[in-house]
Symmetry: C2
Subunit: 320 residues, 2 copies
């Protein structure tokens, strides 16, 4: 399968493909509504930075997630850009129907992500139905979306569940195969509450490559316990080439509300890009404009975000 | 050489040895003086948590670093604890003389650390003399301290210099050997401004083990760019067993002042211990009392510090 690392024309060469998640996973639990024009401006800015994939919005129920009540408006207004895939999240069949209706109206996402949980308890609390029910829904979603969108299967709590603890790796591998049998060959492995460790990441990636070589795994780590970059490096060294992250490290599950604890957040894009580039891994992104976008996001949210590189500045000239 | 991982009697078994650096590297650039009784109380608390090594103070010039004007008072008041080595930093010959005078008076540090910079520019700015001059001083310091203290050689900016950029690994390896030839077989490799990457860490540790197998390297990473834990994991996997860190991730070089940029800090002890224990690597420390000590440190400094685990809470019961 094509892996997005091959870029055409003047696009920069890249060794890894990053998906910028600020506008969806980042904003999902922001209490203040970010107006549609600002969302569109930011997403277009991310696309111009050189990301091959940008998570744009979610077809959530507006009564549950008011932040994405403007999902269709955002996608309608978003200027298209060659080489950039816009992603929208779909948690259920109704969401896919909305995504299809937008497409029929002449705009919409390039890619939609479907959601499943690796644990029964997380499925019940996050999706409000059993794993068995959700998998039936996913089959229906895939049937109706096939050929219209590029599909990404997401597996939450793949490295540990805040309610059940350890998640059996064999069950995760079986879920990945389940997506693959449905024809969904891009699968996001979510460390939803920061329970992965470098050895557990490595183990899953190694098994996955052996058992499902036709699946393209997408690493999605949350930095809940400060381990995001360490887990990204472990995934990279185990062969991962696709990563999700969010500018400023915002987003992730609202641990304080949902799981009785405090800070959370995605892996911070600026810090991950700085580390990758320092390691000689080409991201196709330039750091200075990325940091400018980070300052923009801080201004929009009205507070300092979590990028260490933005706070510390780039390393001195001459650094490897 | 003994490596501190062997513990006697009721002390907990450990696979790695952590040195808690809050009281020295952590406090070094705190603008507000922490009173002597509070310092002694915190250091004693760290020792009781199960750290084998605790950085207690620095024999700095009080006019330059007023925070450590009470170095001798702290060491005099500190209750001794079996199995715990207290360390004091000595930047010059005068500092070693003070350390020896304290020892002659019946109290003092168990271990002193000597300082050298891996780059000429950093030596000039941080130690105010050339590398050649500093190495002559170190020879004199070792001569006078030999047999009285356990000696630790420190090498700042070993993974990159904020003024010169890349630091030649062969020069770092030669400096380590220089310490070893003086009989200083414990050498701290400092990533002073967070320029190390997992591959550069791995490369240095692999070379070091091949070239200087009798040297015990101590990993000292700053989290300036968010890479502290990723670099710790790389060092661990390359064979490192000794690590420096600071509760709350405080300290490190005052990047904003000295290097024209913002946030910095040591690797956060609570987050590193949580990750190590989740990986099945025994630290000899229990997390709950460690987090309590973190809360204590936050109260003393009057602000939230940088521990993600303290903010997010421990992972759910049942987690690996």
């Amino acid at each position: 399968m094509t892996d997005d690392t091959a870029t055409a024309g003047a696009a920069p060469a890249r060794d890894v493909v990053l998906c910028e998640c600020f506008a969806r996973d980042g904003l999902q639990h922001e209490p203040r509504f970010v107006d549609t024009a600002t969302k569109v401006r930011l997403i277009a800015r991310f696309a111009a930075l050189g990301f091959a994939r940008v998570e744009a919005t979610s077809y959530s129920n507006p009564e549950v997630v008011p932040q994405f009540a403007d999902a269709s408006d955002v996608l309608r207004a978003l200027p298209r850009r060659a080489g950039v895939m816009f992603k929208a999240t779909c948690a259920n069949v109704r969401a896919v129907r909305r995504a299809l209706a937008d497409l029929d109206a002449g705009f919409g996402a390039d890619e939609i992500s479907l959601l499943a949980s690796a644990s029964e308890s997380h499925s019940q609390r996050n999706l409000r139905r059993s794993r068995a029910d959700q998998w039936r829904h996913i089959e229906e979603m895939v049937e109706s979306a096939r050929g219209r969108f590029r599909l990404v299967g997401t597996l939450s709590v793949a490295f540990g569940c805040p309610f059940e603890g350890r998640v059996d790796m064999r069950s995760v591998l079986a879920d990945v195969e389940r997506y693959a049998r449905l024809g969904v060959k891009r699968v996001t492995l979510g460390d939803t509450t920061g329970m992965a460790t470098p050895p557990s990441v490595r183990a899953l990636y190694v098994e996955l490559r052996a058992l499902s070589p036709d699946v393209m795994p997408i690493a999605h780590f949350h930095d809940t316990r400060g381990t995001g970059l360490a887990n990204c490096v472990a995934a990279l060294e185990a062969g991962a080439r696709h990563f999700d992250s969010a500018i400023g490290g915002v987003g992730g599950h609202p641990a304080r509300v949902q799981y009785g604890s405090g800070h959370t957040g995605n892996v911070c894009t600026e810090d991950w890009v700085a580390l990758l580039e320092a390691m000689g891994v080409r991201t196709g992104l330039r750091l200075e404009p990325l940091l400018d976008a980070g300052r923009d996001c801080e201004a929009v949210l009205g507070r300092p975000l979590h990028s260490r590189v933005l706070a510390a500045g780039l390393a001195a000239a001459g650094e490897a």
